[in-house]
């Protein structure tokens, strides 16, 4: 590792570096480049607030009419204009901002205009969704998308530090994984002129893959192939649901993290999920302090307290059966739910949120759900009616992780596939894993956007995805 990366990135000094190395850089000449957030023209001198995206903080630039020949042009370049500024960094430790730049020259790299839609006034989130190419320049989205980036890296770092192997499971698939949801079809057939077989059906031998193909809803089954070789693996990639649900929590395209561990039972699975969430939260708290402070102030006043609390306190664990009792007890105490509660139901978001927000007041794993409401691959418990599943519910969101110990017994799995009228031929490879060196193994799926919502307090999934895809919307 003899590479000197510093050398590559010397041309301008990023504002993040000015703040980080203020004491060394104070009094020296530096060049910065960024975009104007505001200009105040005081006639003989003025202030430019500049942001270059390297950190949440802006840099205050002081310009003087006598020094800057193009003073008037800069003063009227407009919010959003791109400037390259050379000057001397001054330490102003006694003032709210500890540094400011005394400009010697200011080059207008690209002007803006009065039509620029991101003027400094407050705009609605709905309007900003129509300006997805510009909204990253606002405080809210600069915070959200840096948190998203840092959280993604924290997840990679967590797993790589533990020796997990990152696996890119396929996006295009010919199997329907778990039958988990509606799928998008992927095709190169000309829809204006679909080729037909003699029997009048779509002739898929003329399609790209010689068969019908879809976008994946989960990489789990393929991840298991790799867990049986590497022990510990994880995926981190896009997954898709073609569900016609226009809610604040659903998108057609979203990213999932799916770790899969060999020689790992349900209790260890929960240990790893909990450690991962706490690690990511701690990492983001450490690396996005300015962003979280703003989000805590303007988006969700309880955010920082909640994140600190979750990062340091043990998650609760409760069986589904006990969770139902808790909900029934709550009803008898006067709690109202829209959906009825009894053993066998799939928990609704209102139930999940009651458990995590009101009863446990922290994240909780609900374990051992009825087999009927869970996927075929989950391990059947000794009682014969529940499976070794564990969903993690968090305050403000509800379910954020769905995990389980996988059925490793060939005969039990074959019987389950048969009972559910699934096609065993479709699961031949999956069953092979149970034929040759099967072992106790577990995994979980974390919806990345839900995690980002949790980390930022933002309550609409459309606002944590760079360019969200939802029913009727795939613009940009």
């Amino acid at each position: 590792m003899s590479l000197d990366l510093e050398e590559v990135f010397v041309e301008r000094t990023k504002i993040a570096a000015l703040y980080a190395d203020a004491e060394q850089l104070g009094g020296t000449e530096v060049t910065v480049a960024g975009w104007v957030r505001s200009v105040r023209d005081m006639k003989n001198f003025g202030f430019v607030t500049l942001n270059d995206g390297s950190c949440f903080k802006d840099l205050q630039v002081v310009m003087n009419r006598e020094i800057c020949a193009n003073y008037d042009a800069v003063a009227s370049c407009g919010v959003g204009a791109a400037l390259i500024i050379h000057g001397v960094l001054e330490l102003t430790l006694e003032r709210p901002q500890p540094i400011e730049l005394q400009a010697h020259t200011i080059a207008i790299e690209g002007a803006s205009s009065p039509e620029y839609p991101m003027q400094k006034k407050r705009q609605s989130l709905e309007y900003l969704r129509t300006q997805q190419h510009l909204r990253p320049r606002t405080n809210l989205f600069r915070a959200v998308f840096r948190v998203r980036s840092v959280a993604a890296y924290a997840i990679h770092k967590f797993f790589q530090d533990q020796g997990f192997v990152y696996v890119n499971t396929p996006i295009i698939t010919t199997s329907d994984a778990e039958g988990a949801g509606e799928m998008f079809q992927v095709t190169t057939l000309d829809l204006e002129n679909i080729p037909r077989t003699d029997a009048g059906k779509v002739d898929y031998t003329q399609d790209f893959f010689d068969t019908s193909a879809h976008l994946t809803v989960s990489g789990q089954l393929q991840a298991e192939n790799f867990a049986m070789a590497f022990g510990d693996v994880y995926t981190f990639g896009p997954t898709f649901r073609a569900e016609n649900s226009n809610t604040r929590r659903h998108a057609a395209e979203f990213w999932m993290i799916e770790p899969e561990m060999a020689f790992c039972d349900l209790a260890q699975d929960m240990d790893i999920a909990e450690a991962m969430l706490q690690y990511v939260i701690s990492y983001v708290l450490e690396h996005c302090a300015d962003e979280l402070e703003m989000l805590n102030k303007f988006v969700d006043k309880g955010l920082l307290e909640r994140l600190h609390h979750v990062a340091t306190s043990e998650f609760a664990r409760v069986s589904y059966t006990d969770a139902i009792s808790i909900l029934e007890e709550a009803i008898s105490q006067g709690e109202k739910f829209n959906y009825p509660v009894k053993w066998g139901i799939d928990l609704q978001t209102e139930h999940e949120r009651y458990l995590t927000e009101k009863h446990f007041k922290k994240p909780v794993f609900v374990t051992d759900y009825p087999a009927e409401i869970k996927a075929f691959y989950m391990r059947t418990n000794d009682d014969g009616k529940t499976v070794a599943a564990a969903d993690c519910l968090v305050p403000g969101i509800g379910e954020i992780i769905g995990g389980s110990q996988r059925e490793e017994r060939l005969d039990v799995l074959e019987q389950r596939i048969k009972d559910l009228d699934m096609d065993p031929e479709q699961y031949k490879y999956y069953l092979d894993l149970r034929r040759y060196g099967s072992c106790t193994h577990s995994g979980f799926g974390l919806g990345f956007e839900r995690l980002v919502m949790y980390l930022t307090g933002v309550d609409n999934i459309r606002d944590v995805i760079p360019h969200p895809r939802t029913v009727g919307n795939a613009e940009f």
Copy 2:
């Protein structure tokens, strides 16, 4: 960061840890879990070679008939069986393998069978492609897929350490980006029964997104939206080409890294690309030593020398015009090419490989290509006929990176879009970036699979993708 991650992962000791901490663990009792690579039964004692996927190395386990009650069962459990073994770790520093495990108990977690397709004999790569769920258990694929994982992490680490923001650009898109290649259509329409408008056309108002949609071929244009806010960003995600090309270098689904940097010209763009490649190579050399040694021995005898060379030597840079002269000179010296060489041609792989392998004998950036053979968004040079593009060619592969400085001048870009008969309305958002605070900016695209091929010496893209998708193939 008070989290003690060690606590979560205590249940078994990974073989990687046995090798790393051999001196401390020697003489202590440990439990390991993994899969049998071979068994030798010497009647009263035997040897089991175990691998748990945590590292490339196997662990030798010694079992004694007098100690292991199920000696015969273990001796016949078969290659590929899963075992959990408790015993004492012995230091055997004088022997080729520095440690071995003296087994006290061996639990057969999952037996294998004589039908197990990954028996220890040598199998063809073609056959292994039909066993994608099991091939990660072979030496070759354990090496390739760990290198892939480590390289992916190195890329994230490189950019995150430099303050780049990771952006998940959309997979489903309604624009065709750069018109770079054939696209897959994404739809929820029933192909057996396509809804039609009154005019007899496909009625896309009934499709999921209210319009026709496709899989992305590049995230660059969307990445630019974020570069204009964060300065330095990168994407790392799947991209797609529906091209009917059945070659060793093409897949329908592959991962791309697309960094995009504001206030960055073509020379800096190349600096960053070069630093990134050298960083990733150095990182993989450091973290995958055993894997690379095997690949160097059995797959590509020049691999290690080439990687060390590239990691430490400066890349060459040559203009397209000079590159054409070099090729013409080579022809005059007797070099034979299948495709003719003259100014204006798109370089073929044979030309690229001549330049990087025979002429420069190291990676080379070819810059300033004719505008006609490059994309609309590349910056027009002052000569009016070339654009500020830079492709990086590497020995054994040819093009591995395609980059350019982007056209930041609104009027020039609008004219170019018009000249190419493209629809300006489609590029409204992209043009907005030039209206409001435009700046010099550049980026590049790195094909991740080509990088993995380069890092491993594997010469077929099907063998560096967990479950490759090519014409007629989307199984597993």
